[in-house]
């Protein structure tokens, strides 16, 4: 009995010793394994932990319902919608016409007034150059604003080189145009006024209904780039008296590479086509219509119409939450653009005494942008911010937060927290902030030249 107890105790102690030895060996192995795991997890992290997406003005993820609508047309029903002689063509054409109706319903138009294009850039080019060139015999003046999208400004620049006269209307400090100025500038030689509905950088909503009525009364065509507005605010081209409207697919949770141009039929707007060919799309835009893309685009428009109120309510709540939290925690934050006349999902904030690029890099696990995607490659501050009269240093330190259908409260809270933390940290490091804290007025400093 004693033997058994002793032997069992011995065995136990041996087990303990061996287990200690084992545990030592095991712990060594464990550290090596942990190191391997650390290395492995770093690799996985690169592929798995994606940043939060808060850049809905640049592009939007496709809604799963849109993808579902597109799939059959990518795989099975692949016919050319302009083939008149067989079932592949017929079914493809039916789908295309259904999509056309869905797009038209969203903006209150007739399906025959919708022309499918490759995106809002093409639609803008088509409408501006097309109208200007068609009516150039009698009218050679075009009016636009300084805050338009680059494609509009660039088209106008090309027209200037062709001999047209272009007026770039300035905007007030809140981003809205002055209706009186517009009224003064419209002359009997004006063929087109082009003003975007919702600005993609500062989210400001222009008074489109008033502008439309003004243009109709003066017999001038009115084009609006509604890429950021369609599906987000209620639009009716007849109430607004709009003659041409550009729509983009990938801004309303649809596929990239497709868009539409609304061209009014009564009173008829004539356009000189940019793309010539087989006469598709009423001769205004020849080329095979990409059925899967337009089917997806149509589905996105239908979903947007159904979800408009729900999304708008949610986006407003989230946007207010973001702005309130940031503004209450850190001082010297300026919101660019009118606080009332705006689409709530596009928030452009300028953080004084903090450099925009460094803040973006500090917030590397949130996908944000400063200025629009098409101008972010250059180091100059955005021309839109310059047009609304923002100071150079405030223009450099602006960040655009985009909130959309898929944004969650947690994402907004995380972004706000990270933003506040990083702004405080960057300001600690900033000598300008130190000087401001001491009460020095930065504008009164004479910086010496080296």
């Amino acid at each position: 009995m004693m033997n058994r107890i002793i032997s069992s105790k011995l065995v136990d102690s041996m087990c303990v010793i061996s287990s200690r030895r084992l545990s030592f060996a095991q712990s060594a192995v464990n550290t090596v394994q942990k190191q391997k795991e650390l290395i492995k997890s770093r690799e996985l992290e690169k592929d798995e932990l994606r940043p939060l997406y808060m850049d809905f003005q640049a592009t939007t993820p496709m809604d799963p319902r849109v993808l579902d609508a597109m799939l059959p047309y990518q795989v099975n029903y692949y016919g050319n919608p302009h083939s008149r002689t067989h079932a592949y063509g017929w079914e493809s054409e039916t789908a295309m016409e259904k999509a056309r109706k869905q797009v038209a319903d969203l903006i209150g138009a007739d399906p025959r007034e919708i022309v499918f294009t490759s995106g809002a850039t093409e639609s803008n080019n088509m409408s501006i150059k097309g109208v200007a060139r068609f009516y150039k015999a009698k009218k050679n003046h075009i009016i636009t604003t300084q805050t338009e999208h680059k494609c509009v400004l660039d088209s106008c620049r090309i027209l200037e080189a062709e001999g047209f006269e272009v007026t770039y209307l300035p905007v007030k400090n809140n981003g809205l145009i002055d209706l009186k100025q517009l009224q003064e500038r419209i002359s009997p030689h004006t063929s087109l006024v082009s003003i975007m509905t919702v600005n993609n950088e500062i989210g400001v909503k222009q008074p489109i209904e008033e502008i439309g009525h003004l243009c109709r009364s003066k017999n001038v065509f009115f084009h609006t780039d509604a890429a950021q507005a369609v599906g987000k605010i209620p639009i009716n081209v007849n109430d607004w008296k709009v003659d041409l409207m550009s729509i983009s697919g990938h801004k309303i949770y649809g596929p990239k590479g497709v868009g539409a141009l609304y061209v009014r039929r009564r009173p008829r707007v004539r356009i000189e086509p940019l793309q010539n060919g087989g006469g598709q799309e009423r001769g205004l835009r020849s080329g095979t219509v990409p059925t899967p893309l337009v089917v997806g685009f149509g589905a996105a428009c239908e979903i947007a119409q159904q979800e408009l109120e729900y999304d708008h309510k949610r986006v407003t709540v989230l946007a207010n939450r973001l702005v309130q939290k940031i503004m209450s925690e850190i001082p010297d934050v300026v919101m660019n653009g009118d606080p009332e006349q705006r689409y709530p999902g596009c928030i452009n904030l300028s953080f004084a005494y903090v450099e925009g690029e460094s803040l973006l890099m500090a917030l590397k696990d949130v996908a944000l942008s400063s200025g629009s995607a098409c101008t972010s490659a250059s180091l100059e501050p955005s021309y839109v911010l310059r047009a609304i009269g923002a100071d150079e240093d405030l223009a450099h330190s602006s960040i655009r937060f985009g909130i959309g259908r898929f944004t969650t409260e947690e994402e907004v809270d995380y972004t706000v927290e990270k933003c506040i933390q990083q702004v405080k940290r960057l300001r600690e490091m900033s000598p300008l902030w130190e000087m401001v804290q001491e009460g020095i007025d930065l504008k009164s400093i004479k910086w010496t030249q080296h």
Binding site: D47, Y53, D68, Y310, R405, F406, T408
Partner: protein, 89 residues
């Protein structure tokens, strides 16, 4: 009608939530769960049987859609892991 009975609606709701939880993508998953819950809550007091039928039909279509989507995303993650394996080699 038996098709629009309370149990049927509830079971459809539970099925939709169960399927929505399986989306691998965070944004789609949270959106689906939130939208299903809000839609059912919003239409709680609808009385007209035709409207109820229409709403239930939409719910059933959404369920089929979500089930199809999950198959797609499963394939998608399989592709990414395949690419990872190739890179490791």
């Amino acid at each position: 009608m038996a098709a629009s009975s309370r149990e049927h609606v509830l079971s459809l709701y539970r099925l939709l939530l169960k399927e929505s939880k399986k989306f691998p993508s965070y944004n789609y998953r949270t959106y689906a769960l939130r939208r299903v819950r809000d839609a059912f809550r919003e239409n709680r007091t609808v009385e007209d049987p035709k409207d109820v039928e229409e709403l239930l039909r939409r719910a059933r279509d959404s369920l089929a859609l979500i089930q199809r989507q999950k198959v797609m995303e499963k394939h998608d993650t399989q592709f990414t892991s395949a690419i990872l394996l190739q890179r490791c080699r």
